[in-house]
């Protein structure tokens, strides 16, 4: 493609693709697509499982190895974070929070080794946000009872009910859209810049612009953005879950 094509807007030019469908199954008339996202998620799960097996193998109480120190540091940091933001009686949520964080950050970082980010598919953050949604409402029902939970919807006055319902439903939507939007905007901007730079270098004839600049952008969007969004996602999860419990005020 020449630079003049780029300036005119080339017909075969820039496009953003969704995740590719590897194969599809028909289960009772419902088509289930096995997409790139699912396959890469399996790879991540496999990698994390192997890493954890390696980290936790051969644990001792005396003469501990560096590997065990690293594993203990990870667990300790996670539990400290959960305790400091949710309170002592929420320690049991730490594994869920840790899994969410690991999956989210690795799902964003796989784009650095050339795979498609798991979080650049809206289904992945939506699924996590829905699990969080179930946790929020489960906690609410468990602490206030089912009638108390329903009463929460008509809380100040009965007229407020539609607004309360909308605000509850918008929680998972906004959480997942935020994560997805941040990652996918990084992806789009990086590929747009790459497209423009390759058009310019083709116009000039020497490919030198495409070497360094997209890597810097990718470092910012994938590394910093991915980490930030994973962190924000778990912080919001913890805040919402501990808010669903009336005891949160006394614990904090």
């Amino acid at each position: 493609m020449n630079i003049s094509d780029f300036l005119k807007g080339s017909p075969d030019g820039f496009d953003v693709q969704g995740p590719k469908v590897i194969c599809s199954f028909d289960v009772f008339g419902v088509t289930i697509n096995l997409t790139e996202t699912v396959a890469i998620s399996w790879l991540i799960i496999l990698a994390v499982t192997l890493l954890l097996l390696w980290l936790t193998s051969g644990m001792k109480t005396k003469n501990i190895s560096k590997r065990q120190v690293a594993a203990e540091w990870i667990v300790q940091t996670l539990y400290d974070l959960v305790e400091s933001s949710m309170g002592k009686h929420w320690r049991k949520f730490a594994p869920y929070i840790g899994a969410l964080f690991t999956f989210s950050i690795l799902g964003s970082l796989v784009s650095m080794i050339g795979l498609r980010s798991v979080t650049a598919d809206f289904n992945a953050p939506l699924a996590w946000a829905l699990v969080t949604f179930v946790f929020i409402h489960g906690t609410n029902i468990r602490t206030h009872g089912f009638l108390g939970y329903l009463k929460g919807y008509v809380e100040p006055v009965f007229v407020m009910m539609p607004i309360n319902v909308i605000s509850e439903v918008s929680t998972p939507v906004s959480m997942s859209l935020r994560h997805f939007g941040n990652i996918v905007s990084g992806m789009v901007i990086t590929s747009m810049v790459y497209f423009a730079l390759s058009a310019v270098t083709k116009g000039i004839g020497i490919a030198f612009l495409t070497i360094g600049i997209p890597a810097v952008l990718s470092l910012y969007f994938d590394l910093f953005g991915g980490f930030m969004q994973a962190f924000v996602f778990i912080m919001l999860t913890m805040a919402y879950i501990s808010n669903a419990d009336g005891r949160a005020e006394t614990a904090a």
Partner: protein, 90 residues
């Protein structure tokens, strides 16, 4: 007849591009809001350096929540650009 259709497509595509650009005006609000929040966080860290951890954490959550309107704008813009819902309605 074919010419008319092409003109119609061109109008829809051009209007979608303008719409995508207009949707990104939504980025102004979160920018101002987040800048204000970060400024306040810096002030309070300057006043109480020992509470910097809690302030930073709260600020990040606040920024993320404030950002969602901007993300919605971005979402609309991306949809108009790459997933145009109007072009098939011709």
């Amino acid at each position: 007849m074919e010419n008319t259709e092409m003109i119609a497509r061109a109008i829809v595509l051009g209007a979608s591009a303008i719409g995508a650009g207009t949707a990104m005006i939504a980025g102004v609000g979160p920018g101002i809001g987040e800048g204000y929040a970060v400024g306040k966080a810096c002030e309070s860290i300057g006043r109480q350096p020992e509470s910097s951890g809690a302030v930073t954490r709260t600020m990040f959550i606040g920024c993320a929540v404030a950002e969602s309107t901007g993300i919605y704008g971005l979402f609309v813009a991306l949809m108009l650009l790459f997933l145009n819902p109007f072009i098939n309605k011709l």
